[in-house]
Symmetry: C2
């Protein structure tokens, strides 16, 4: 007999895990049981409600396949992905802040020359995207890698529209020049809904939440001797900036798309004057010694 | 901007659910977010650990089909099923205690006459199972329904061995006689492992836990004007009584299988003397007025 009761449940169940050989796993399952039992005691579910929870988790699992990860979406809309991101990226002040990787980095970005146009379908308003990668102390970082991917002007990634968008549309892997700069041609991304035709979409609908993310370009930047950063630049003025359904927006990551009237600069970027410009500098923390 | 940070995460995410129209759903998602974020902050998972959690939940969902409910097994081995049972069945003192329904009540038990033999495969040691159903004040309850199902002497239910065991083996729906008694012939059940060839079995193995349940017979008893009870009678002396992997054992539900040498009683049950006997009286609480 274990003496299981409403009062002792967490204690009895954690005791059953006392023999877990791996100390990290033991700590995780112990904490899981304590928090899960506290949750159940707080809400006191009816048996029908508990069955609905089981059904929801089952449907979420069955929605997953090679191109769809419904549990990641669930983690995203509950703010858990961003919390895990925050815990794992406590950066020195000054370094560019992180945000979630998201589910659309399914394919490698093709290496491209600086100045290349990554919009292969020309769906959206043309725009130059540029910035400088530097170290926390301001030193420019030549040869840094900048991986960029984004949705088009209609709010879709290439992997969501195979056969409609060209392969590797709006993806590119760039290397900064001797002054640490990168620049490329693209289109202004549009806000978009996360995939909402599954259990997570139904949860959002039932709770009065919209499924949208504000317009953004994904960036992973890395350089020798520095901690790589996975982040976004968000488009100032986009709808949903204050209600990103995955809680990914940070104030320091929002930048305006400006209109530039400067024939010499337009010529350097190889675009017509005037042109639209999005600038985003990236600061990387040095790897701690 | 929402001001999401490690410190504010739960507050920001619960605020996103503020517009949930159904107040019960709002309370559940709010509590879920609070407890889930507290859990994540407590264990501070690496990104690889969080990915393993996502993979575990995905595999658990994909293991589910018409005859296998892996999330119920997960709920069982984490003690959540028993906690939900305890919360929903706070009985008046004296009434028979409840325990989990379990996953094997997939088919209806066939109505049978008192004294019938429910062991159609004769796999196990023959045994008489009998008891009296009464109200909290001791009044016998004639015409009460007693639904019984169990594993055979090898530890398997009929639904686990289609084509091997006869259909509806070791299942029966009995009606108590004018003195509130039921009796039937069966075999002594054996302890058995819950299905452990999936993610839940791997969790048990990784945490040094066995997958076994002590020997028991399932009983659902109900009578007019009384709260029905879903419970088990456990066999005294069975292995795993003090470490049931689903935490279902309660001291008040354990009964010995005795050997009876009483020719007259054997004759009444229609068995040879001496015989094995398991007795389990059931007390039902009256429906509150």
């Amino acid at each position: 007999m274990t003496g299981f009761s409403e009062e002792t449940s967490a204690e009895v169940v954690t005791a059953s895990f006392a023999g877990t050989p791996d100390p990290r796993l033991k700590r995780i399952v112990t904490s899981l049981v304590e928090h899960l039992h506290a949750f159940v005691k707080d809400i006191e579910p009816t048996e029908a409600e508990w069955q609905r929870a089981v059904d929801f988790l089952t449907a979420t699992g069955r929605m997953c396949d090679e191109t769809r990860q419904e549990f990641v979406l669930l983690s995203d809309v509950l703010g858990v992905s961003m919390l895990v991101d925050a815990i794992n990226h406590r950066k020195p002040a000054g370094a560019t802040e992180t945000t979630v990787l998201g589910p659309f980095h399914l394919v490698d970005s093709p290496p491209r020359e600086l100045g290349a146009d990554i919009s292969l379908d020309h769906n959206g308003e043309p725009c130059v995207f540029t910035g400088r990668v530097s170290s926390s102390d301001g030193t420019p970082l030549p040869g840094a890698l900048v991986d960029v991917w984004q949705a088009n002007g209609a709010g879709f990634y290439d992997v969501q529209q195979p056969g409609v968008q060209p392969e590797r549309n709006l993806r590119g892997l760039f290397t900064t020049d001797e002054s640490g700069r990168f620049w490329l041609r693209t289109v202004v991304p549009r806000y978009y809904p996360i995939p909402d035709d599954g259990p997570v979409g139904r949860l959002l609908a039932a709770t009065g939440r919209h499924p949208n993310r504000p317009a953004h370009i994904h960036v992973i930047a890395g350089a020798e001797g520095h901690v790589p950063v996975t982040t976004h630049v968000f488009v100032e003025g986009s709808p949903y900036l204050d209600s990103d359904t995955v809680f990914g927006v940070k104030e320091t990551l929002v930048r305006p798309v400006t209109t530039v009237d400067d024939p010499a600069r337009a010529a350097r970027f190889g675009v017509e004057n005037p042109f639209r410009l999005l600038e985003f500098d990236v600061v990387l923390a040095e790897v701690p010694r």
